[in-house]
Symmetry: C2
Subunit: 519 residues, 2 copies
């Protein structure tokens, strides 16, 4: 058994059976070993950012890691932005980066570079395996690091000769999974006292607290104490819709977020960081916690959030099953001019039961959460790390993880272009993904930010750098070039009809919605 075979068998033995890959010569033995271990499912991406974003999306939905396979330092570089998003999502990802053979390093051949250094930007675990016999054990250790908590990116660097040499040893799972840090009793007591008081409390949730079963416990706690529930601005996976505890997300714009938090006296952090502004702006604070508000770090990403919630429920006497539930309600199918608002309304009217929404709609998607709040139960995946180009790859991974569910990628024109190669993988794998491409011909968010950072009267050359027109991007043509069915809607009626058809048609398709500039 060579190294590659032992690695793949170790992964499969740990439940990791999907690898998103863009391999090169140094990874050829890993690729060849796919035929020896049929339990491993290799998914080809035409760009590494697709592979890493798909691993993130897979992990968010499957609840277990996918692997990636990348080609040396440049391949890792191409995958880095979506590994950054995965890091912020606390998604467990095993990132395998092929390297030159150990005997080849001294020659500083063209593709050589310092891979470990780059990997540290996104990884909690970085190791270069130096001998074939160690590979299985290293993979096991990497998977344990990735699993967390907190879930994270673990990077295993795999020299070509370690992969091709005989002497591989499969490492069996060692059974132990870490439970996370125990809640601090003093913090719990203070938090419980706040919840029992008459002062305004917010349960500020993120990470695992946004999904079953913890989300139900959050709802129970809120119902029992009158606390409000707010979610971090960009959760990895928020379960929502009819029948689930309704959760409002804190707004992206610091101005609105501060208004929303005004008057709150206690912020209880449940797998979420204390809220801060996404960017800094001249003369404005970065910290969004209002003056006089106490922050209670109840449980962080490395902690036992379930245990903390159970302890809080005990302390305040919250009964299970008390949570308020979202009532089923949908907007009417819209009519009139096609705008980002009517697009989102149509999505609310048509979103199928059990759908997964990968939301990178940016400015054009602002109305989507409201329009879908009472739609049938669904999952909402967001841009956790702010590195755009995540939405389509995450949709790929989510669809691979849940082949029986419809995935909707709510995608903006500017963001789509970073990882548009995702469409080809959707087509190859026959994934049930509907892409709603919101085309406003601009980096609209930057037009807004230009004003917010204090540029009062931007000149024509600055505006030019934010404009995606001249030439206009034709996403129908791009999608067809990647082998997908695609249509363009310029009226709300067309959009309603095209979205309904896409949602009902197996396999991937794209609906391009041509909408006006900002909002």
């Amino acid at each position: 058994m060579n190294g590659a075979q032992s690695l793949i068998r170790t992964l499969v033995g740990h439940g990791v059976d999907t690898c998103f890959m863009n391999p090169g010569t140094s990874e050829m033995h890993f690729v060849a070993a796919l035929d020896d271990v049929p339990e491993m499912h290799g998914v080809l991406a035409l760009f590494e950012g697709v592979a890493t974003g798909a691993a993130d999306g897979y992990s968010r939905i499957a609840g277990r890691p996918a692997a990636t396979l990348l080609h040396l330092g440049p391949g890792l570089g191409n995958g880095l932005a979506n590994l950054h998003n995965a890091r912020r999502a606390h998604s467990p990802v095993l990132n395998i980066v092929g390297d030159h053979a150990t005997t080849h390093r001294r020659y500083d051949a063209q593709l050589q570079s310092d891979i470990e250094t780059v990997a540290r930007n996104v990884s909690t675990f970085v190791r270069t395996t130096e001998s074939t016999a160690d590979l299985g054990l290293d993979a096991r250790e990497a998977l344990a690091a990735a699993a967390g908590p907190p879930g994270s990116v673990a990077t295993l660097i795999l020299p070509a000769d370690v992969s091709w040499s005989e002497g591989g040893v499969v490492a069996a799972p060692d059974g132990g999974s870490r439970g996370g840090g125990a809640p601090d009793a003093a913090v719990l007591d203070a938090a419980a006292a706040a919840l029992r008081s008459d002062e305004r409390c917010v349960l500020f949730i993120g990470g695992r607290a946004c999904a079953t079963p913890l989300l139900d416990a959050v709802g129970d706690l809120a119902a029992a104490t009158g606390a409000e529930v707010l979610c971090e601005t960009f959760p990895a996976r928020l379960e929502r819709g009819a029948g689930r505890p309704p959760v409002e997300r804190l707004g992206y714009l610091a101005e609105f977020a501060m208004m929303r938090l005004d008057g709150v006296r206690h912020l209880l952090l449940l797998d979420a960081p204390s809220p801060v502004s996404f960017f800094a702006y001249p003369g404005k604070p970065s910290d969004l916690v209002p003056e006089g508000c106490t922050v209670h770090p109840v449980a962080g990403p490395g902690d036992d959030v379930a245990g903390a919630l159970a302890a809080l429920a005990d302390l305040v006497g919250a009964a299970a099953g008390g949570a308020v539930r979202q009532v089923a309600t949908r907007p009417e199918l819209p009519s009139g001019d096609l705008t980002s608002q009517t697009v989102c309304q149509a999505l609310g009217a048509l979103l199928p039961e059990g759908a997964i929404v990968s939301d990178e709609g940016n400015t054009s998607g602002l109305f989507a959460p409201g329009a879908t709040a009472g739609a049938p139960a669904h999952d909402w995946l967001t841009l956790t790390g702010g590195a755009i180009g995540q939405g389509l790859p995450v949709a790929v991974g989510a669809a691979v993880a849940a082949r029986d569910r419809r995935v909707v990628a709510l995608e903006a024109d500017g963001s789509a272009l970073y990882t548009v190669q995702s469409w080809w993988t959707m087509a190859r794998e026959g994934l049930d993904v509907t892409t709603i491409l919101l085309n406003n011909h601009s980096y609209a968010v930057l037009n807004m930010e230009l004003d917010r950072v204090g540029v009062d009267e931007p000149g024509p050359r600055a505006r030019e750098m934010l404009d995606l027109g001249r030439p206009d991007l034709d996403f129908v043509s791009l999608a067809r070039g990647m082998g997908l069915d695609a249509t363009r809607a310029t009226s709300t009626e067309e959009f309603n009809e095209q979205l309904a058809r896409s949602l009902a048609t197996p396999g991937p398709s794209v609906v391009e919605a041509v909408i006006p500039g900002l909002l």
Copy 2:
């Protein structure tokens, strides 16, 4: 004057007047300052790998650095692969990476990451400017580092508040440019003795030795001594064609390279590393220098190559003007089935005077150097670092640097997909770039490498990972989606006609050549 304005004025004062950019919120003041300093030309890319590759291509042709503008760690990640290629090309590039405001760092907001760590993978100079007053001086120092020799990537990290604050100071050029290390007298003497001997000598050239005026000096030396001239496999810029000293490139395949070097007794390195295999292969050597051959490190990338060549000419008595010159000759326009060979033959028949070829044709481009050897004088730019996805961005940069010349991007299907967003920038800037898209529906090089690394009978699942069909990519549709004219040729006659039309038509266009699999 704010920091951004002082930075741009400093760059312009140093002759850096082009910035390839994909900005975000933290770079908005840099973008706004474009209207204050009209000498700076901002070129928008829709993906960072386009911006960094374009900066490389620009530098190779203009002989002076371009700047980039990228958005935090993820933006740098997306640009890393082509910065790797720029590093290997010894292209001077000023890589500007926007960062959060210094006051915002402590909050670990979503987009924060360790930028300096990533930058070190590709940069000889990395600095985060901490105060607005220092920005001009830091930029001057970065530019000096980038200029070299050796030319390199210098990364300046620019926090948003350093950019937006008042108090910027323009740094004037300090006039000094480094000449490079002086040649070692003992090495020169030994090299001259070898050239005077009857033993077989090769002038192994790379970098600056591949272009005017040094290439002429190489030709003179070869003519005077009978030494052969060989070029590194992947030169940054090789001047060639009618009237220039003819230069053969060492082959990519180690098997052929070793045959070519067999019997050589002296290898004189002139701005080129000693030849090594691109990858390692089981049981095969990485070092391509034959046994019994002495390697003479005459001048490296950090040295005064011109001085070394002049000293060698003195020592062996080589007269200026003695170099053999390539005779003008072109192949006939081909006919018959369309193959990679007829595509390359047509290119040889039609390549215009003064053209620049950005060659990422990979397996399909193997016949191109031979077919164009006697074409009118032109420049040939190659994949210096092996990170595919370089060809189209380098074509963008070359075309911006030389708006009066025709650029031909000889591009393979697999490679094109990494940075296909380049086409949009070509269209926006109206660049005279002809893309010849060689579509063989596969990662053909990997099919070859699978065999070379010793995988004897790859199974269907391995083959699947190297196959770009199912669905077939339609590059005409992709190009039109980016706003370019595009046509598809399935016969040699169609290709001849379409290539001629593209070369004669101002602005960018794409000719997709549908060719059989491997060679």
